[in-house]
């Protein structure tokens, strides 16, 4: 945006931004592995890949949220090492975050010009700001009431405000991470026109998206990532949704999964029976906000979900981030209030919003975030494991220390928890051992249904294998297991059956011999083009 006409013409055709050998590691996870990406000035460059392929991390390295471990970021021909989003911003790089970063109680103009207000003798000059706002509107084609309070706007309008803010700061490189995930079809159209307008202004857009049709329609160039590595640089003309999906998966099923226990007879009475369940994830991805610009609900009145899980069976729940996987299992457990429907464990009704009741009937949930929802980090392994079982170790109203220690020691060794004594605060354990301590908590006598939401996220390879073994042990001992995972190979390697979710609903049920990564992904994306590729 900074006066492209005046820039060196040679540089204009060359890279606007280039990553050379960039790597970034988080604990045991190699989020980006030696990535080389060249992004031309004024292009719309799409970045695609599975969940966890490293797309968002690339965006965050460019925008200064993370510092790369090695490699360099070359922007406008100069090597940069941004230590904060502020520095990247000053250089002309703006990221529209997955979570919006606006001041909700201030007006649109105030948000657009925050930090670059027009002033006269130290006072804010509103008229001048409104003038500047109008010229922005002309350049971008966004129409929005400058005096509206941001809190009252729809999610889409809030994104426009963020984009206006970027343009107002003379940003020349805009990163959009899943900008359309929360938009209605109509709003997506607006977004696409806006991206076109930015391109016309010679503003480069890095576009991270799960929506492959969108990518094929908008992008000038596409980079496909897998497991932190760049696997393909390509152009939309030479790709289809199906070919992109193949590039995103592209690996052999690794043989590091324990053998599956035999699939139980489906004519048996199921242990977990879900009928007509409607959950929060079906209502659209963001709770509707009150305000003047209303967005139509994304989905028509949804039907409830139904699912049976038998003793000894592992059922996977697949879907993209935001497809409602977590919301579904949380409603089954009663962690979130289901809107309708009923859940039974071994024939007994769970009720709609009572984790306590679910536990009493034999359910256990290993939640998505062990740190925020699973463990009390400052307390000991002992207290964390025994928390739902204290009644068992109480004698005459008082906790019996020996009974508790014995209970916990058995549970911890069954779940292969290492790296401390039972008195160690769980925050000192590694991520893998923290996760295993949650297995230790639940895999006690009386458990009938185990729900694990992303149990291997952020866990080292060794612990991953232990967790796979634990899931298999659970199934073999007659538990009904429900496994949510973003890792397709895990779902294929561990589950008897996989339910694929999209927009809050089950869109496919896959089992042997149809259970493979490509089919899961195609149903998860849901493109007709991709579905056609299967045959």
């Amino acid at each position: 945006m900074a006066d492209p006409q005046g820039a060196d013409p040679a540089r204009q055709v060359a890279a606007h931004l280039e990553l050379r050998g960039v790597s970034k590691r988080f604990g045991a996870t190699q989020a980006i592995d030696c990535a080389d990406i060249v992004i031309r000035r004024g292009s719309v460059h799409a970045l695609v890949g599975e969940n966890g392929a490293g797309k968002s991390t690339v965006g965050k390295v460019i925008s200064g949220v993370y510092a790369a471990d090695s490699g360099s970021v070359i922007f406008n021909g100069r090597r940069h090492r941004f230590r904060s989003p502020r520095q990247a911003f000053a250089a002309g790089i703006t990221a529209l975050a997955q979570e919006l970063a606006l001041v909700p109680d201030r007006s649109v103009v105030d948000n657009v010009f925050v930090g670059v207000e027009s002033t006269r003798w130290g006072f804010v000059a509103r008229k001048d700001m409104l003038q500047r706002f109008r010229s922005l509107v002309e350049r971008t084609g966004i129409t929005i009431d400058p005096t509206a309070i941001v809190r009252t706007l729809s999610v889409a309008d809030q994104q426009w405000v963020e984009i206006l803010r970027a343009v107002a700061r003379r940003a020349e490189f805009v990163i959009m991470d899943e900008p359309s995930a929360r938009l209605s079809a109509q709003e997506r159209g607006q977004l696409h026109r806006l991206i076109g307008a930015l391109r016309d202004q010679q503003i480069t857009v890095l576009f991270i998206s799960h929506f492959l049709d969108e990518v094929l329609e908008l992008a000038d160039a596409i980079t496909v990532m897998r497991d932190g590595r760049v696997v393909r640089h390509t152009e939309p003309a030479s790709e289809t949704a199906g070919s992109l999906v193949d590039a995103m998966i592209g690996r052999e099923l690794e043989a590091n999964f324990p053998p599956k226990p035999p699939r139980p007879d489906p004519s048996q009475v199921p242990v977990l029976r879900v009928r007509g369940l409607q959950h929060a994830g079906q209502k659209g991805f963001v709770a509707p906000r009150s305000g003047r610009s209303e967005s139509p609900p994304r989905t028509p009145q949804p039907a409830g979900l139904a699912l049976d899980v038998h003793a000894g069976e592992i059922v996977g729940i697949a879907g993209l981030v935001g497809s409602g996987r977590t919301e579904f299992v949380r409603s089954v457990y009663g962690a979130d209030t289901a809107l309708a429907g009923d859940v039974q464990v071994a024939g007994r009704e769970v009720g709609r919003h009572r984790p306590r009741r679910a536990i009493a009937l034999g359910m256990g949930l290993i939640p998505e975030s062990r740190k925020d929802q699973g463990l009390v980090m400052d307390r000991s392994l002992r207290e964390n494991i025994s928390l739902p079982h204290l009644r068992v170790v109480t004698r005459a109203g008082l906790l019996a220390g020996n009974a508790e220690r014995e209970f916990v020691a058995t549970a911890a060794s069954n779940a292969n928890v290492r790296g401390g004594t039972v008195e160690t605060p769980v925050r000192l354990l590694s991520g893998g051992n923290q996760q295993k301590s949650l297995f230790a908590r639940w895999m006690a006598p009386g458990l009938k249904v185990l729900i694990a939401d992303e149990p291997t996220r952020g866990v080292d390879v060794g612990s991953k294998r232990s967790i796979y073994d634990l899931l298999m042990t659970a199934a073999r001992s007659g538990l009904a297991v429900l496994l949510v995972s973003s890792e397709l190979e895990e779902l294929v390697g561990l589950c008897h059956r996989v339910m694929v979710m999209r927009e809050g609903r089950f869109v496919a049920e896959l089992s042997h011999p149809d259970l493979d990564e490509a089919r899961i992904l195609r149903h998860a994306f849901g493109e007709k083009a991709a579905a056609a590729q299967i045959s």
């Binding site: 009390v376 400052d378 307390r379 000192l428």
Partner: protein, 324 residues
Amino acid sequence: MTDPTTQSRLPTPGRYLAVVARYGIVWVTLALFVLLAVTTDGFLTGPNLRNVLDQQATLLIAASVATLTMIAGGFDVSISAVAVVAPLVALRVENATGSVAPALLVGCLFGLGVGTANGWIVAFARINSFITTLATSFVVFGIGYVASERSILRPDGDGFQRVARTRLAELTTATWISLAVVAVAWILLAGTRFGRHVYATGGNAEAARLAGVRTRLVVVTVFALSGLASGLAGVVAASRTISATPSDDFSFVFGVIAAIVVGGTSIAGGTGAVWRTLLGAFFIAFMINGFNLHQIDPIWQRIIQGLVILLAVATDAWSRARRT
């Protein structure tokens, strides 16, 4: 799972430091006690120590139970209001009926009622507990003025003062009551299912809920108990001084919070213990006792007391920051 070689991930000097920091209040209180015993005439005598115990009784009653509230993640400033007003209500009953037992009962039930109301508002209306109890404090102080008709109340008979002033085995009944309350709070927190639920709720309420803890019930209960204990503390205080005065004086709760925080219970919730509050209270009490025995100007006493509290909270914040 207990491989002895991996018992702790901290290096030895770090582990040593951690133990010192963890039980800091024990060493510091012991050191102060020894220092005063050696240097200060009149400190290590039966009458002086018994006097300290008697003076700390009301604070210990309120603080030991308020420790549970703080560990559960709550902050109760209505302790002052309840401790001021419960004895006024109790003395009105004593004056009307002439008997002590109903007076005690009504005083305690008054505290229980206010505490339960606080807990409901915090748990179900989800209003910040500091703000909630600040607001209810004003209401309660107002009730005190109405109930007492703005005058000092005194008991009609001798029975009321015997509640706290009777001597049993050298100690006053006020001391015995406070020790009993400390014991109950200690056992409740450290030895029961409820106590574990208090820690879990304050440490991570969402994780606790998903593990089957009724977190809102826990919050209501700790505030109710805190109100009950504050009412009892107020009645014991009135029995010691044989009178009760309406006021809107918030100072009592500050002493209570100082004892809890100096003891090492975190204001962030999730960690702490009743024995810590016991030590915190005695650390401050010994300090003041020492000052008095040395006849140090009370103005300087306040300044030093303030700095000690700051130091305690800073130590907590520092050890917390090192964890992440």
